[in-house]
Amino acid sequence: MAMKKSFKGLFYTPYILWLAMFVIAPVALIIYYSFFDIHHQFTFSNYRVFFESGTYLTMTANSVLYAFLITVISILISYPMALVISRLKHRDLWILLVILPTWINLLLKAYAFIGLLSRDGLVNNLFEFFGIPAQQMLFTDASFILVAAYIQIPFMILPIYNSMTDISDSYIRASSDLGATKWQTLTKIIIPMTMPGIKSGIQIVFIPSLSLFMLSRLIGGNKIITLGTAVEEHFLTTMNWGMGSTIGVVLIISMVVVMLFTNTKRKGRRS
């Protein structure tokens, strides 16, 4: 028995060490730093500034709004796509194609979009070919959101696709056997049964979308200030690590909130 216990401990040790070094320690450090001002004095002022100055709150609201839009758009695109792919013959191949872009560096993809969306980029050339005047597309909210959604789609599709392929065919058959139309089967059977996939998709996409600083710089053209850009600014430019950490803590808390929100087990049913 004793031997069994120590044996078990042996297996857990690397995992616990890893957790301690790469999860607990960094979070603790961020919380610790958030209580120091720029002169290394202990203070609560970072939090006061965050919640009293309108700038940070607007920034938070902006970030949440952008992240929300990015998440919604990627769900709206990913869900039907996952649905179609899960019904295809070579579905594994197709899902691989969807995931392929994640192997390309984010910076590279961002520059590719700059090439596509710039004043004399491919998209504007196409527009002109069809007689539509060239548009300013780069450095707009819309392009930022669309590009961000594009980047996040693979991360949204994968969990949804997995939960779809887990649904046995006989549920779909049972539904239509009982007289449900395709639409009723989708809304009453497929969507509820893929909810876990949608929820993990939201968890994976929403939080990183709160702090997409590279994209907001390159595609959003610095006009879009999110919590991510603010963190970068504080750590690299103003060297106000305390304030940067405070924003970090806010991000971590919002992550926990999203997790709790998307983990609700269904208990109360039917009004």
Binding site: S168, S170, Y171, R173, A174, S175, S176, D177, L178, G179, A180, T181, Q184, K188, I189, P192, M193, M195, R269, R270
Partner: protein
């Protein structure tokens, strides 16, 4: 003669990979009767149900419901329901919601939904379980809920795909009675699939015996048991001794070097045939009185009878059911009457078999 509700006419089904799962399937189902599709695993039973329910398109032939061709009507518009092999109860809904599903998708009013769900649950004796989650039900209960869900729409035909195969032997027996009773109470047509011949014999008005995508024989349980069309059916339905022989003349068959009087006719003189004798029709006597002599090899006590395995001089195996035990390694005689033998021709079609039987019976 009651009304035909479902009919299959010359149905073939070839899957995308070129495999032909159904070959020339034709049958009629009358209103209010209990039919069983019986055959070994992979013979195409589920495929037949699916082509009636509308989950698979037949390659050729016609599927008729109430006299109308339904080949191109989608599953959700067909007025019949299915109890699935794996039950397929929706895990995201509780018992009530599962049973109510078929009504809710048809926009039935709430009061009526509640009444009809209650009635359906009562039919399967689970009215107290409405608020349970599916995961909180035993296998037998899930099976009943699947039936309740399927009958709530009041279909004219219920298709049941091996609904009892996941249950233990005792529960299975109970459910056989219950299902049969339910079918008679509802007065709807059941098309029941099983690979268990005992189940088929016990429950059905009519059995369709299948093998390799074909229906070999249709008939009521007694006919199929007493007069199997060929070796496969005789072997598959119940236990049997099948011996090659020769039809000397009408009502005269020869096997194992002896000639016997039998009750079959209509073959060519000296046509090679197979003779079926059921183990329970063989009676053990002294070697002198027996029509055949066999040497007892082993015997097993089966509760209500002894199952005795014996060999004749030519090495053929004989299975005998007897209420009394015999001695191992003893030589015993076997007797049987003309009616205990059933003679089968090689490769006789069902139509020819039936007309031959009609020509000399009664």
């Amino acid at each position: 003669m009651s009304k035909t509700i479902v009919e299959l006419k010359d149905v073939y089904k070839t899957y995308d990979d070129g495999f032909t799962a159904l070959k020339d399937i034709s049958f009629k189902l009358n209103q209010g009767e209990f039919y069983t599709l019986l055959g070994p695993s992979g013979c195409g039973k589920t495929t037949i149900l699916q082509s009636i329910a509308g989950f698979t398109e037949v390659t050729s032939g016609e599927v008729l419901f109430d006299g109308k061709r339904i080949n191109d009507i989608p599953a959700n518009k067909r007025q019949l329901n299915t109890v699935f092999q794996d039950y397929a109860l929706f895990p995201n809904m509780n018992v009530f919601e599962n049973v109510a599903f078929g009504l809710v998708v048809h926009d039935i009013k709430k009061d009526e939904v509640e009444q009809r769900v209650h009635d359906a649950l009562k039919m399967v004796q689970l009215e107290k379980y409405a608020n349970r989650e599916i995961s909180e039900l035993s296998g037998g209960q899930q099976q009943r809920i699947a039936i309740a869900r399927a009958i709530v729409n009041r279909p004219k035909v219920l298709l049941l795909d091996e609904p009892l195969s996941a249950l233990d032997a005792k529960l299975r027996k109970d459910m056989q009675y219950e299902l049969r009773e339910l079918q008679q109470q509802l007065g709807i047509t059941f098309l029941f699939v099983t690979h268990d011949q005992e189940e088929a014999l016990a429950m059905s008005d009519e059995i369709f015996v299948m093998n390799k995508g074909e229906i070999l024989q249709k008939g009521d349980p007694v006919d199929i048991y007493d007069e199997p069309i060929n070796h496969f059916v005789a072997d598959f339905i119940g236990e049997s001794n099948i011996i090659p022989g020769k039809m000397v003349a009408d009502f005269q068959v020869a096997f194992l070097g002896h000639q016997f009087e039998c009750s079959d006719a209509g073959m060519r003189p000296n046509e090679p045939v197979e003779v079926v004798i059921r183990p329970e029709d063989l009676v053990i006597t002294t070697p002198e009185k027996g029509k055949l002599q066999v040497k007892v090899d082993t015997q097993l006590f089966r509760g209500d009878y002894y199952e005795i395995l014996a060999y004749d001089e030519q090495g053929n195996e004989w299975l005998i059911h007897s209420t009394n035990a015999t001695k191992d390694n003893s030589i015993v005689g076997l007797t049987f009457g003309p009616n205990d033998m059933h003679i089968m021709r090689y490769n006789e079609s069902e139509a020819k078999f039936n007309s031959r039987l009609e020509s000399y019976e009664d």
